[in-house]
């Protein structure tokens, strides 16, 4: 052992020494039988298996690679400043570093650790070193500030529970002067745009007004490099602005954020176009894995240097996204942020729920979802503006008197507020996480419902002889109950639908899933219709009181179903049609049940719907009721009554009510398509009857709608 080490590892006492036992160990090994171990009484083989294996690349994050430390890497010339004394090369390399950092940032957003991605850049690890290199310094300080802002959103929103690596900072140095980073960036941007102007003037043989030193030495490349760098700097500037605007309380920065998002997108596209020109000039084929626009390897990156910092995670080797993937990622992120910024702050709770569900359809990534969540919920208020109870009372269309009423202080009402907040949070999570959590909160909603019901009963057990003030309170509670029930069914139907998106159901289970969707949707429509008619009645009373003319349209709507109800009605018909069709096909042995030796239908029913069953959604609804309602289904019966035709008809009728809502219109079109195809398939099946198994093949596809299957009959 070297003297230096000996001094550090001094023995435990004055007269203790380190004795080399290697030969003794060798002798002992020779003396051991195969499989024999030397160990103490506290030895436990199971525990020993979890020991960290040194020098195993998948376990040992401390393996020493090329350099012992960041400082040694810098001394060894791994991250020189300037990057090259040739200024053209220096600019080239700086652009490569910028591009690779963008790829690293996208990789980080996609779920890898910060230490292994963005902070594999040695220049970022030692911010004080870059001060002399204005370009690199400005870019790395804005990157640092951006990372910090993104971490703060994600950890505020707590969406990172799904991606726990995301917010770990491992003691990395993110604390720069956040405010200053923009002024540094602006100064550099100003210089380079002057250089660009100068070189354009020179090429147009105009006289240069100012004496400006060019960015680099090669006049042929000057304009291209100036533009490439400007686009990159401006993208960073606008992106940082986007984050800062979205951060402003109560959604005050949304409009400005949209402007910056648009600038970001145009700069990104400019970056891509400029690089296309460069590569076209070079004429080389560049690999698709490249992380820079030029295809060169960037200088100054070494992911192994701070691998030790990611101590709680195994040292996985990760693949950084390619440059074009990174650009695509940021374009998608910016589009998602644009959708978020376009959210109307005046939206009612139902609109917000619809907005979030709609937003989730494009499968936004973590960072976008975190922003949405933070916008929706600030200081426990919707958009940081409206207290949750007031949001609920609007959604449940409670009468105005509810303000200043002590209903708000009832414990179960406070709980209800918390449940709504949790629901919004959960809806912002990724699909898998979301479905799991939705299943779990159903029970909480159910408990709150029961508590409200009990409160109603205990307060107003005697219906007669109550003063009118109490009557109002009773009505409020009743209305609240209807609303809570409606939301419970809404959550349940979202839970069931998400199963299709996550591909959790097998074809043989579609029957029971559609049956459940049917049952839940029927209840949902019932409650929705109930609530709407109560609120319409309330409105009418109010109108009459004010002696205003009631528009004829409103009066008829009361008797008819509202468009929202009809919209759901088309879902119901489709679900019922599919349930019956699948049941008939099974009963008439036209689809072969894949016999599973493991689980019976009843067991699978329980596995899929356990959480719904436990929460009693709906009440008295069991496997037996499913069996009972489907065991007599037959094709001849379906031929007489075709649910798909109903679905088609309703979808057609209701279209006109949603002429200003393109999303619902396209949903209705999809429903029409599914209904039409299934209707055709059904009549075909009725005609061919038993011939099916021999010459025709039946399958179910999701080509028209993500949740409602289309039956496809093919000649085999």
């Amino acid at each position: 052992m070297a003297a230096a080490e000996a001094s550090i590892f001094s023995g435990s006492g004055d007269n203790s020494v380190w004795t080399d036992v290697s030969p003794l160990l060798q002798a002992a090994c020779n003396g051991l039988q195969d499989g024999e171990l030397i160990h103490g009484d506290n030895f436990n083989l199971y525990a020993a298996m979890s020991a960290l294996e040194i020098m195993d690349p998948k376990m040992d994050s401390g393996m020493i690679g090329r350099y012992y430390s960041v400082d040694e890497a810098i001394d060894g010339g791994a991250a020189p400043i300037p990057i090259s004394f040739d200024r053209t090369v220096d600019v080239q390399c700086t652009i490569d570093i910028m591009d690779h950092l963008l790829a690293c940032e996208a990789t980080w957003h996609k779920g890898h650790s910060l230490a292994q991605t963005v902070f594999s850049c040695i220049y970022l690890l030692r911010p004080e070193r870059t001060t002399s290199h204005a370009l690199l310094h400005s870019y790395s300080s804005v990157i640092r500030a951006t990372c910090k802002a993104v971490i703060s959103v994600v950890s505020d929103a707590r969406t990172h529970e799904e991606e726990d690596l995301f917010t770990m900072m491992y003691g990395l140095n993110l604390n720069g002067e956040d405010e200053k980073c923009l002024s540094i960036l602006n100064a550099v941007e100003e210089t380079i745009s002057r250089q660009l102007r100068a070189c354009r003037a020179l090429s147009a043989r105009r006289k240069v007004l100012e004496d400006i030193e060019p960015l680099q030495n090669n006049p042929m490349l000057e304009e291209g490099y100036c533009r490439a760098i400007l686009a990159r700097l401006r993208f960073r500037k606008h992106f940082y602005h986007v984050l800062m605007c979205l951060k402003r309380p109560q959604g005050r920065g949304l409009q400005l954020a949209r402007k910056h998002v648009a600038s970001c997108i145009s700069e990104l596209k400019a970056i891509r176009e400029l690089s296309g020109q460069h590569t076209a000039c070079g004429g080389q084929t560049i690999s698709e894995d490249r992380t820079t626009a030029s295809g060169r390897q960037p200088v100054g990156f070494d992911a192994s240097l701070n691998a030790r910092l990611s101590a709680p995670t195994p040292p996985r080797s990760i693949k950084i996204l390619s440059w074009s993937e990174a650009i695509e990622y940021f374009l998608k992120l910016l589009q998602d942020l644009d959708i978020i910024s376009s959210c109307s702050l005046e939206n009612s709770l139902d609109c917000v729920l619809h907005f979030v569900v709609q937003f989730q359809k494009s499968q936004p990534d973590l960072v976008a979802r975190a922003h949405l969540q933070r916008l929706l919920l600030q200081d426990g208020k919707l958009f940081g503006r409206e207290a949750i109870f007031s949001v609920i009372s609007k959604a449940a269309t409670l009468p105005e008197v509810v303000k200043n009423h002590d209903i708000e202080k009832m414990e179960c009402v406070i709980q209800l507020g918390q449940l709504v907040i949790n629901l919004l949070r959960i809806l912002c999570a990724n699909s898998a996480w979301q479905r799991r959590k939705l299943g779990k909160i159903l029970q909480d909603w159910r408990v709150t419902y029961i508590q409200l019901e009990l409160a109603l009963r205990s307060k107003f057990g005697e219906p007669s002889g109550t003063p009118s003030g109490e009557n109002i309170c009773m009505n409020i509670l009743k209305q609240l109950l209807v609303w809570v029930e409606e939301k419970v069914y809404w959550i349940a139907s979202r839970f069931l639908m998400l199963g299709f998106e996550l591909e959790l159901y097998s074809t043989s289970e579609y029957g029971m899933v559609y049956w459940y969707i049917y049952v839940v949707s029927v209840k949902l429509v019932e409650k929705l219709h109930h609530r709407i008619s109560i609120s319409n009645r309330g409105k009418r009373v109010k109108c009459r009181g004010k002696k205003k003319r009631v528009p004829g349209k409103d009066a008829t709507r009361d008797i008819q179903f509202s468009p929202t109800v009809l919209f759901l009605q088309s879902h119901i018909c489709l679900a019922e049609g599919l349930t019956m069709m699948l049941a008939a096909l099974r009963n008439e042995k036209m689809i072969l049940e894949s016999p599973t030796p493991f689980n019976s239908d009843q067991e699978r029913f329980f596995q899929h719907f356990e959480l719904l069953q436990k929460a009693g959604i709906p009440d008295h609804n069991s496997y037996q009721s499913f069996e009972g309602s489907t065991k007599n289904a037959s094709l001849s019966m379906l031929a007489m009554y075709n649910h798909f035709k109903d679905a088609q008809r309703i979808a057609k009728e209701v279209k006109s009510s949603f002429s200003d809502d393109p999303e619902r219109l396209s949903e209705l079109r999809r429903i029409e398509q599914v209904a039409e195809h299934n209707s055709v398939a059904l009549s075909l099946l009725c005609r061919v009857g038993d011939a099916l198994d021999s010459s025709l093949k039946l399958s179910f596809e999701f080509s028209h709608h993500p949740h409602f299957a289309t039956a496809v009959v093919r000649r085999s």
Binding site: F9, T19, G62, S69
Partner: protein
């Protein structure tokens, strides 16, 4: 796991059995293991198998921050680790001076017999 395999014949076998029991006596003692890439591990000796792999408990990893020595050391706690025999370059145990002498004499004895 007692010394059931101990052979009655003197000489080599006795020497081996002796080595095994001496190593058993080192259990729970502070052990310092150096490995190929220059790191050191200081922990409590927990287990040794026939292939020479060592398990240490409550281990701290020491690494130089530079290749050129002397240099400052960096350290971090690792807990239970397994050091494969293939990457081990040195192995020391914290002993008193008397014990060191006896361990060395044993090795001499062992060298003679083998």
């Amino acid at each position: 796991m007692e010394q059931g395999a101990e052979s009655a014949s003197p000489g080599i076998d006795a020497g081996k059995a002796d080595a095994v029991s001496r190593v058993r006596g080192l259990l729970f003692r502070r052990m310092l293991v150096g490995i190929k890439d220059g790191r050191f591990f200081l922990g409590n000796f927990h287990c040794l198998d026939k292939q020479g792999n060592i398990i240490l408990q409550d281990t701290v990893e020491y690494r130089s921050t530079r290749r050129s020595s002397p240099s400052p050391m960096e350290q971090r706690c690792l807990g239970l680790i397994l050091i494969p025999a293939s990457c081990r370059t040195s192995c020391h145990v914290d002993t008193s001076i008397e014990e060191r002498l006896s361990l060395l004499s044993l090795q001499d004895h062992h060298d003679q017999t083998s």
